[in-house]
């Protein structure tokens, strides 16, 4: 077995990353939930080794999905447009609250003719990132359709949704503000969190993905904890009959036991 090099410094997240704008944001909080924090602290992060979340990036062609991902994963920006064929794929390693964590980023093709193949990859996405071009308002209109397609392959409510406007460097401040207002309206309809980024300058790219990683990480941790608690309760309840007098404090001791020993 080969040793994996440690996660690079700028992929270590110890504080909960902030949202972009409070007007379209999924969660208002500055810290990880206490449960998650304590679990991370005690290193009882569940049975299965490394946690992985799947991120699917969708949106019209030429809005800059691949550029966004390349800026984050490889820190490069290629001026030449090269259409993505089928799907591209990157794994980005993080360390969140001291726990190793991977984001699996699926970069789908925006061209209509590749949609058949790309849509096969929507399933099981913990995070759906719908991307549009801040300089091309039409691409914003299309995000609804993209999201709908992606949600069809997933259980309702199981994915975080992000709406991302790219190419911020190309639009003037005033125009950007105008488009952002529209986008925020869209985002709240979609129940998505809104971000404006620029892959060319790198503005907000790292912040955005950190936010994605932290939210996805917390949810998957909560899920894991819930599952292990459930398992514990089941075993406890199966074997014991609680006497009338004891039945009240039974669940409490149960959950306590599971917290301390899972």
């Amino acid at each position: 077995m080969h040793l994996v090099p440690p996660v690079s410094r700028d992929r270590v997240i110890s504080h909960f990353p902030k949202w972009y704008t409070p007007e379209a944001c999924l969660q208002f909080k500055d810290h990880f939930q206490a449960q998650v924090r304590s679990a991370c602290h005690q290193r009882n992060t569940g049975t299965v080794g490394l946690k992985i979340s799947k991120v699917v990036v969708v949106g019209d062609l030429f809005v800059g999905k691949t550029s966004l991902i390349n800026r984050f994963c490889k820190d490069i920006f290629d001026r030449d447009y090269k259409a993505t064929i089928g799907v591209d794929f990157e794994i980005e390693r993080f360390e969140i609250a001291g726990v190793p964590y991977n984001l699996q980023i699926w970069d789908t093709a925006g061209q209509e003719k590749f949609k058949c193949i790309a849509s096969a990859y929507y399933r099981g996405a913990e995070v759906i990132v719908t991307v549009f071009d801040l300089a091309d308002i039409q691409t914003l209109d299309h995000t609804k359709q993209w999201l709908e397609d992606a949600l069809r392959e997933n259980e309702p409510g199981s994915s975080f949704i992000f709406l991302v406007g790219t190419k911020k460097d190309l639009v003037s401040g005033a125009a950007c503000e105008r488009t952002e207002r529209d986008a925020i309206r869209f985002a709240s309809e979609m129940q998505a969190e809104y971000w404006s980024v620029s892959a060319k300058t790198g503005e907000n790219v790292k912040e955005f993905f950190s936010r994605v990683a932290a939210l996805a990480f917390e949810r998957s941790m909560l899920k894991e904890l819930e599952k292990s608690n459930g398992r514990m309760a089941q075993i406890g309840a199966g074997n014991l009959i609680k006497l009338e007098g004891n039945s009240l404090d039974a669940p409490e001791s149960n959950s306590q036991a599971s917290l301390s020993c899972c």
Partner: protein
């Protein structure tokens, strides 16, 4: 002195005197030592005086030496400057000779070119021109400035003219040979181009010739295809075959002409040749694919599939079986293309590698970029991507529809644990993924794995889930016994028809049967998914080891397959749910009354009754018989693994229920003994039907039996706390007191007084 004079006190005077005496002694000693040294110093002085004249001698010698060195240095400097001059002279001489040679060469070349051209010996002429072109331009420039400038000028002009003439001649002759399809002549002039410095032109002209050949051959093949009888053995994959022929033709051309290109054009030129060929390849592929789309009605079929998928109620649903041949052909076509592209890629890479071995990193990256661009942007790969895109949707439809059909045609045969649809569904899924795999496209394969996972997870699991949701019909014990016999009857009758119709579940017996079969189905599904995953893993590693797929291919496959494995767990969860349902709806209602009968057997007994119980067992034997009867049906109807889980659930249930009734009973000393006996025989029986130990489940009951068997209340202390030994108490102190209180002969004050 002043101080001494001032001294008046005798003691002080004495002290001063003493001090002075000591000082005197020290001074005297020093003086003596100095005197001793006087002799040696004088000796040394004498020696020094003697050395004086010698020094003068040395000084003279040194001066002489310095003079000599200066002289030698001057001499050396002189000599080396002369050598340098000589060297320079020699170099110039060489240059002069070189130039003279060049000029001679030039003349020779010129004469040679003239004669060679006259003799139509183009190779010779080209060799002369090549020699001329490789001459240093500055030399030629310089020669023109010499005395014979005008002659050389004229010669040069002639040479240049000859060069131009040769170029046109070669081009013309090449074109002519190409038109006539004269391969030796084509190759002959192809070899001359690089001598004239026309590498690119030569390659492009030669490629033109090769492309023409490719085109002719392809046209022929396509005509052949159009004339092929539909009954031909290969008719179903005729377009894939045509593509194969095309690719093989190009590969053969590359194979045969690569050595010539390498020898006459140098390394790293193969890319140019292939780039030209690829254009023709794309043109021909387009033609073949167009024909394919037209003849097979590919787009219309896709449209139809898409419509059927959108509106599930569509009347003219396309028959999935009709799609089968076209899907196979598309994957075959893509596989051939991938194979061809891999061949091209390998060839170019190795050619670049040898050619770039000395090149800088930038040049290498540049070349890599060229290659990527050629491979990804060529019409061939784009066309195939499009075809595969349509294919994915159609394959998904094929899989879904066929699975639906398998579910609809589900049959169950007696003696089998599972029904037909499980094997059918997995056969279909395997077939569809296998077909996607055969396309050699990793993206296509992953997409199909994802679709299969979705199909299994949502649609097929839903089918099984709905069957389980119908539940296991609850019956009373008598009904249940009757049920077994009538179920056997029904099964007999259905066996005669050869089918067991699970669609219309009318009777409870059929419902029961269906429930058990579904449980088995769920378990087998979970197993099958894991097997499928393992098979795919090895298949994929085979594919990847052959060099297909990009850098992230392995990671993509791993991710998709782990998704698939997760579905196996979902089936496992479903199985657990089903078992719980079975346990609570079928076993619990039966077992509970049987256990409640325990209450009607008094355990507050004396010697006489105890003996009577010994002879006529009041409860436990009947209970065991009942249990056995009940489990027998499940044992035959469920797979061993599920049956084991079920008995485990059953034993837990028995333990829990028995505990409840024990706590409701009262016991005498002998009653406790009786209970202990009963518990032992029950545990003994249950141990024989389960594969793992059940002691743990009955630990609390065993401990209760121990307590109920005590002589005195205080005897518990022999087993409690520090005296417990290897025994781990599963009962809390409160529960121990409660159990003790069940004994009617134990006084409650004694129990209260216990310190536990």
């Amino acid at each position: 002195m002043e101080r001494i004079r001032a001294l008046t006190d005798l003691r002080e005077l004495e002290a001063a005197y003493g001090r002075l005496c000591a000082e005197e002694k020290v001074v005297e000693e020093e003086l003596e030592a100095l005197l001793e040294q006087q002799g040696t110093i004088e000796n040394k002085m004498v020696a020094l005086h003697r050395m004086g004249p010698n020094l003068q001698l040395i000084e003279g010698d040194a001066r002489q030496l310095a003079g000599m060195i200066t002289f030698t240095w001057n001499l050396a400097e002189n000599v080396s400057s002369k050598v340098r001059q000589l060297d320079l002279a020699k170099n110039r001489l060489y240059q002069a000779i070189q130039r003279a040679d060049d000029i001679l060469d030039l003349k020779f070349c010129m004469d040679g070119v003239q004669t060679a051209l006259r003799n139509e010996d183009y190779e010779q002429a080209a060799a002369h021109i090549h020699r001329y072109l490789s001459l240093d331009k500055s030399v030629i420039e310089l020669s023109r400035q010499g005395k014979e400038g005008s002659i050389i000028d004229a010669n040069l002009k002639l040479l240049q003219e000859a060069e131009q003439r040769l170029k046109t001649i070669v081009t013309e002759k090449f074109d002519l040979a190409m038109k006539q399809g004269d391969l030796p002549q084509v190759e002959r002039f192809f070899k001359i181009f690089p001598l004239l410095g026309l590498h690119e032109e030569g390659l492009s002209k030669f490629s033109e010739y090769l492309c023409k050949q490719v085109a002719n051959k392809a046209e022929e093949n396509l005509l052949l295809v159009m004339g092929t009888d539909m009954s031909d053995r290969r008719a179903a994959v005729i377009f894939a075959d045509t593509l194969t022929l095309l690719f093989e033709g190009i590969a053969r051309i590359v194979e045969t002409h690569q050595p010539i290109v390498e020898t006459y054009y140098g390394l790293g030129r193969l890319y140019t040749l292939i780039k030209h060929l690829q254009v023709e390849c794309d043109r021909q592929v387009e033609k073949v694919v167009d024909k394919f789309i037209k003849q097979r009605d590919y787009h219309r079929q896709f449209q139809q599939v898409q419509n059927s998928m959108m509106r599930s109620s569509a009347t003219e649903k396309i028959e999935p079986r009709e799609l089968d041949p076209i899907l196979t052909e598309v994957t075959l076509m893509n596989a051939r293309s991938e194979l061809y592209l891999r061949f091209i890629k390998r060839r170019i890479i190795s050619d670049f590698e040898v050619g770039d071995s000395m090149a800088s990193e930038e040049v290498k990256q540049e070349h890599q970029k060229y290659l990527d661009k050629l491979l990804n942007n060529c019409l061939l790969s784009r066309t195939m991507q499009e075809l595969i895109g349509y294919y994915i949707t159609m394959e998904e439809y094929f899989m879904r529809e066929t699975v639906n059909k398998a579910v609809a045609m589900d049959t169950y045969e007696k003696g089998q644990l599972i029904s037909s649809m499980v094997d059918d569904v997995f056969y279909i899924v395997k077939k569809c993924i296998g077909r996607a795999l055969s396309s050699s496209s990793i993206d296509c394969l992953c997409a199909m794995i994802n679709h299969s996972t979705t199909e299994l997870e949502s649609d097929f699991r839903e089918v099984l889930y709905n069957k389980l949701k119908l539940g296991f019909p609850a019956t009373t014990f008598q009904d249940f016994q009757r049920g077994v016999t009538s179920a056997v009857n029904i099964m007999h009758s259905s066996l005669q028809q050869g089918k067991f119709d699970t669609k219309g579940i009318e009777s409870t017996d059929e419902a029961k049967q269906s429930f058990l079969v579904t449980l088995n189905n769920v378990e087998v599904c979970s197993e099958n998914i894991m097997t499928l995953k393992k098979t795919l893993e090895s298949d994929c590693s085979k594919l990847l080891s052959q060099g297909f797929g990009g850098e992230q291919a392995q990671a993509k496959i791993d991710s998709c397959l782990s998704d698939m494995a997760a579905v196996s767990n979902k089936f496992r969860d479903l199985l657990q749910e089903g078992l719980n349902e079975l346990n609570s709806s079928a076993i619990k209602p039966q077992v509970k009354p049987w256990i409640n009968l325990f209450l009607s057997v008094s355990h507050n007994i004396e010697e006489e009754e105890f003996n009577d119980y010994e002879a006529n067992d009041p409860w436990v034997q009947q209970f065991i018989v009942n249990l056995e009867q009940q489990m027998a049906e499940f044992k035959s109807g469920l797979s061993p693994v599920i049956y084991d889980s079920l008995t485990s659930l059953m034993t837990s249930l028995v333990a829990i229920e028995l505990e409840k009734v024990v706590l409701k009973s009262t016991f005498s000393r002998l009653g406790g003994l009786q209970f202990d006996k009963e518990l032992r025989s029950l545990i003994a029986y249950l141990t024989t039907v389960t594969t793992w130990t059940i002691r743990d489940k009955f630990a609390r009951l065993s401990q209760m039996a121990t307590i109920l068997n005590l002589e005195r209340v205080t005897e518990i202390l022999d087993y409690w706390g520090p005296n417990s030994g290897p025994l781990t108490w599963r009962l809390t102190p409160a529960e121990v007191r409660q159990v003790l209180a069940l004994r009617i002969d134990f006084r409650s004050e004694d129990i209260k007084r216990l310190r536990l």
